[in-house]
């Protein structure tokens, strides 16, 4: 059994109005060091595949087809083996 952690974020240069609003709020709170805030999505998957390589291939496909919209979003993922 494998666990995949998928992170989806806006591509560089794509306006992120939520990130912008949160940055404003952090600055209001006095966190003056806040240079930039980007909002993204975290998706966790449990997968039953024969090995890690297959899991990687399948998760990449899932990201391209559904989990991310590659017109505006980038994705990264980590896969680790977990006990059933």
């Amino acid at each position: 059994m494998y666990k995949a952690k998928v992170y989806v974020t806006f591509k560089e240069g794509i306006l992120d109005p939520q990130g912008k609003a949160i940055k404003g709020s952090l600055l209001t709170l006095g966190y003056d060091e806040t240079e930039d805030v980007r909002i993204g999505k975290f998706i966790e998957l449990q997968l039953e595949t024969v090995n890690k390589v297959t899991a990687e291939v399948r998760v990449k496909e899932m990201c391209e087809k559904l989990l991310a919209n590659t017109v505006i979003e980038d994705y990264t993922f980590e896969i680790e083996e977990v006990e059933q």
């Binding site: 794509i14 306006l15 109005p17 939520q18 609003a21 999505k41 559904l66 919209n69 017109v71 505006i72």
Partner: protein
């Protein structure tokens, strides 16, 4: 001309679209459930507004894989007329039938107002009854209507005259004030404003009627010729 209004779980403008076809065009129209797998009997397909699948993941992202969408893609390739309104536009973008993507409105608000939009191209199957640069009062109601495409795509949209509607006072941050676009072939229109909500004085505007009237007129002309 026979119309299909696609109904997804979470569609909420399907009845308005159905009524628009009945009232404005007096043409046969059916609701088609998203699990259906046949659209062969239809000449025009409308994907209505709403919040299909609760907008989970991204607006339109899950609806795009509904069983009926394979048939919508097939109909698109056959050159049938396809109109996606609001969530319908988002679904067409997610499906790759139209270029670009939708982002959250730049002010982060759900915007529900009547906007002035201008007809930027009146040489389409959907807008031929309007005059060029005609100003229309059409309601919008969305949180994710901030249209985006990369520069290369924008250049192509302009070059091919694919930008059909622009906002006069851009409410949501859309690139180049874009409110509606067609595909290169011209048989698919996606627009965020709701023409089906502007078909009667009782609703506050009749400016949306000509979208439907253009579709029917062009279909009749094409079929009279063949």
């Amino acid at each position: 001309m026979r119309f299909a209004v696609i109904v997804l779980p979470g569609s909420n403008c399907d009845i308005d679209c159905y009524n628009a076809i009945e009232d404005v065009l007096e043409q046969p129209v059916d609701y088609v459930w998203h699990k259906e797998t046949d659209l062969t009997g239809y000449d025009g397909i409308i994907i209505p507004g709403g919040f299909s699948y609760g907008d989970y993941l991204r607006a339109g992202a899950i609806a795009r894989f509904a069983p009926i969408m394979t048939q919508v893609e097939k109909a698109a390739n056959e050159g049938k007329v396809i109109l996606g309104i609001c969530n319908g536009f988002q679904i067409l973008l997610e499906a790759g039938l139209l270029p670009g993507a939708m982002r959250r409105n730049d002010n982060l608000q759900f915007i529900c107002t009547t906007e002035t939009i201008t007809v930027e191209n009146n040489q389409t199957l959907f807008t031929s009854e309007y005059s060029f640069e005609e100003e229309l009062q059409i309601p919008i109601a969305h949180a994710e209507g901030n249209y985006y495409c990369d520069e290369q795509t924008l250049v192509a949209l302009k070059k091919n005259n694919q930008i059909v509607f622009r906002y006069k006072n851009n409410p949501n941050g859309s690139i180049d004030d874009i409110a509606g676009i067609v595909n290169e072939k011209g048989n698919i229109l996606g627009m965020m404003p709701h023409p089906e909500r502007a078909i009667s004085e009782l609703l506050g505007s009749t400016d949306g009627r000509k979208v439907f009237q253009s579709i029917l007129k062009n279909w009749r002309e094409q079929h009279a010729a063949s």
